[in-house]
């Protein structure tokens, strides 16, 4: 897991740093800070991560500690390009 300097510790935004002790408010909490690391305090919470447009629900498990929040809410929609090309060709025929 690439991270910044070890002596600095994991980066967490101030908002998440404040609310990480309060577990009730973590449930279904909307999180805009995609750059923050997932701390062990967030385990077993289900959060809503902002992907720039909507909120993606994500359950925090043990394996996700250390990753960033933004890794679990994709900001790009994957378009099936091949199918579009096929349809276009059918239309022409």
């Amino acid at each position: 897991m690439p991270r910044r300097s070890i002596w600095k510790g994991s980066f967490v935004d101030a908002f998440l740093f404040r609310i990480k002790k309060n577990r009730e408010s973590l449930m279904s909490r909307k999180i805009w800070s995609r750059r923050s690391s997932i701390l062990p305090e967030f385990v077993d919470c289900s959060v809503l991560i902002y992907n720039g447009k909507t909120f993606v629900r994500c359950k925090i498990t043990e394996g996700k500690v250390g990753h960033k929040f933004g890794e679990f809410a994709f900001t790009r929609r994957r378009r099936p390009y091949q199918t579009n090309r096929g349809k276009g060709r059918k239309g022409k025929k």
Binding site: G63, E71, F74
Partner: protein
């Protein structure tokens, strides 16, 4: 780590190259036969270290790099730890080979390394982060462009038939 219990047995020299498993062994030159009875002296063709046959005709520093998981830095570190000379591999004595085997097993090599990497990638897929999804879709993980490159992952390029020009269609 699994330690090899068997000692390397001298193999009789044959004019045909040995059938190497996974890696190419050294090609042996035919020894001139004496009077047509049997072969000349016995000679060790390959040395098995870490479950891998490493070539006999190269120097130790470069022979060790045939092991998956040992590159230039690690092979130099091994020779430095053991205070070995960088001589040709066939000139190693039996005790030196055994010491070298013991030293190599301290590192994660070959099957253990491949297994470790597979487990790490499986973990990424399991937690469904961005890198795991890229691994699952068979796309590059480290932010490379995908329009014109990454043929190793995508495979052979699918050719699209060219559209005929209207002039040729009229013919």
């Amino acid at each position: 780590m699994a330690t090899l219990s068997m000692v390397s047995v001298p193999i009789a020299t044959s004019s045909l190259p040995l059938s190497a498993r996974g890696r190419s062994s050294s090609v042996s030159f035919p020894v001139p036969k004496k009077g047509g009875i049997g072969h000349g002296g016995l000679r060790i063709e390959c040395i098995r270290i870490g479950g891998v046959e490493i070539p006999n005709h190269k120097r130790v520093e470069y022979s060790l790099q045939y092991i998956h998981g040992i590159g230039r830095s690690r092979s130099r570190q091994i020779l430095l730890d053991l205070n070995f000379d960088n001589k040709v591999t066939k000139d190693l004595s039996e005790e030196e080979v055994i010491t070298l085997r013991k030293e190599v097993t301290k590192y994660m090599i070959e099957g253990d390394l491949k297994r470790f990497n597979r487990v790490a990638i499986e973990r990424l897929k399991e937690i469904r982060c961005y890198r795991g999804i890229r691994h699952k879709l068979g796309l590059p993980v480290r932010g490379q462009r995908t329009k014109n490159n990454c043929r190793t992952l995508k495979g052979r390029r699918a050719s699209v038939a060219k559209k005929k020009s209207p002039a040729s269609q009229e013919e």
